[in-house]
Subunit: 207 residues, 2 copies
DNA sequence: CGTAGTTTTGAGTGTACTCAAGTCGTGTGG
DNA sequence: CCACACGACTTGAGTACACTCAAAACTACG
């Protein structure tokens, strides 16, 4: 019933429309949930980090693509036995409801970003979110200096933010030129002052 | 514990940040769930039609604005007794989980619209969604002629689609000039051929 | 008939897109 | 060890789609 599986970076975990015979959760790595239009336009609709749930109980068909952005370790459960267990454990529904509602809130905040924020605000918001999730404690310190890895290509960021990869590149370099961030190794971001970054997101909390 | 309340069109039902002491569901009318930035930019993150749930069990503070777009009748439950009832009725969690997951899917499809669709595709998608929800059966008939009311101002549509009201107006009139739709009374839409409209959405299913 | 709200239309602008070339970094094979 | 190739990233020039600002037309209502 339960198994661990490793997916190399860049590979597909599930494709939209495929039968989906398992559910699971991310143990390690970064996976993305996305949607693609016939002409190739792509929109990421979720960033799956460790502890995030994959799949939907009660649905046999995948609705979105799931891809391993970095190498991903997934803890998988076969769907049928998992659902029997779910029904035998009423308390679990409550926990899953909590998780679904949290994701729904996050999706709605993302809608504000996609619909109304400028390219610069989108980039700043993404950096702030990733900084928060990867590095929860230091964000709160007084000086506000934070360093973290951004395990996403420019293209993945673009798909997440509803931009082109060129615009992502230009805006990241603009933030760097303005002294908001520093780049050490292309994918490693150093934020000098987290409040300064927050001011660039356009919104107070989240971003 | 349970009561019905009527909100006139254009009034606020809940404001983000306010204490929220009830949950409920829409009985009649159209309400909107939205977020506003300090400088006034606004993004609708949900369209609440009859049968849709309002509020989040377990949270005392509203995270989004809820407004009556048309006159709205809400069936309300006080939060504390509702939550006691929820805990005494484990089966209810399952039902609420289903609803939350459906909303999450809808939110994710909306993210594709906001991030990647053109103004024309956005309008066509909105019209198709409202047509489906208000008028489920006729959408499926052979000829594909559908008539329905669009109880939204141009501004509300703009906030939902991440556009300006001027762009909404221009695109609606463009669809009319191209013979995809007809306008009877500004807010009443007549779709000649639903498949033609679907072709304008950029995606297969939903829109 | 006048006023306020909504919608349409016009003209000009700007942000992000497209297309294209060039640079950097890393891994491979001669 | 260097040459090369490949992918990721950067940078530039030109364009287009949607935005902004402004005015006019339509609607509803007192």
């Amino acid at each position: 019933m339960k198994s661990y599986k490793t997916y190399p970076a860049g590979t597909s975990i599930v494709r939209a429309g495929d039968p989906l015979d398992f559910v699971g959760s991310v143990v390690q790595g970064v996976a993305s949930l996305s949607q693609t239009m016939e002409d190739g336009r792509r929109q990421m609709v979720g960033l799956l980090l460790p502890s995030d749930f994959v799949g939907r109980p009660g649905r046999a068909m995948a609705k979105f693509d799931v891809e391993a952005t970095s190498e991903v370790i997934l803890c998988q459960f076969n769907r049928a036995p998992f659902e029997r267990f779910l029904h035998a454990t009423p308390h679990l529904h409550e926990r899953m409801l909590e998780m679904a509602l949290d994701e729904l809130d996050a999706a709605r905040e993302w809608m504000l970003l996609l619909g109304r924020k400028t390219a610069r605000e989108k980039i700043a918001s993404l950096l702030l979110i990733v900084a928060k999730r990867q590095n929860a404690a230091p964000v709160l310190d007084g000086i506000g200096m934070v360093k973290f890895d951004l395990n996403l290509t420019r293209e993945a960021m673009a798909d997440y933010l509803g931009l082109t990869l060129e615009t992502v590149s230009r805006q990241i370099n603009a933030l760097k030129k303005d002294g908001i961030i520093q780049l050490e190794k292309k994918r490693q971001i150093c934020v000098n002052n987290i409040d300064q970054l927050r001011a660039e997101t356009g919104t107070d909390f989240e971003g």
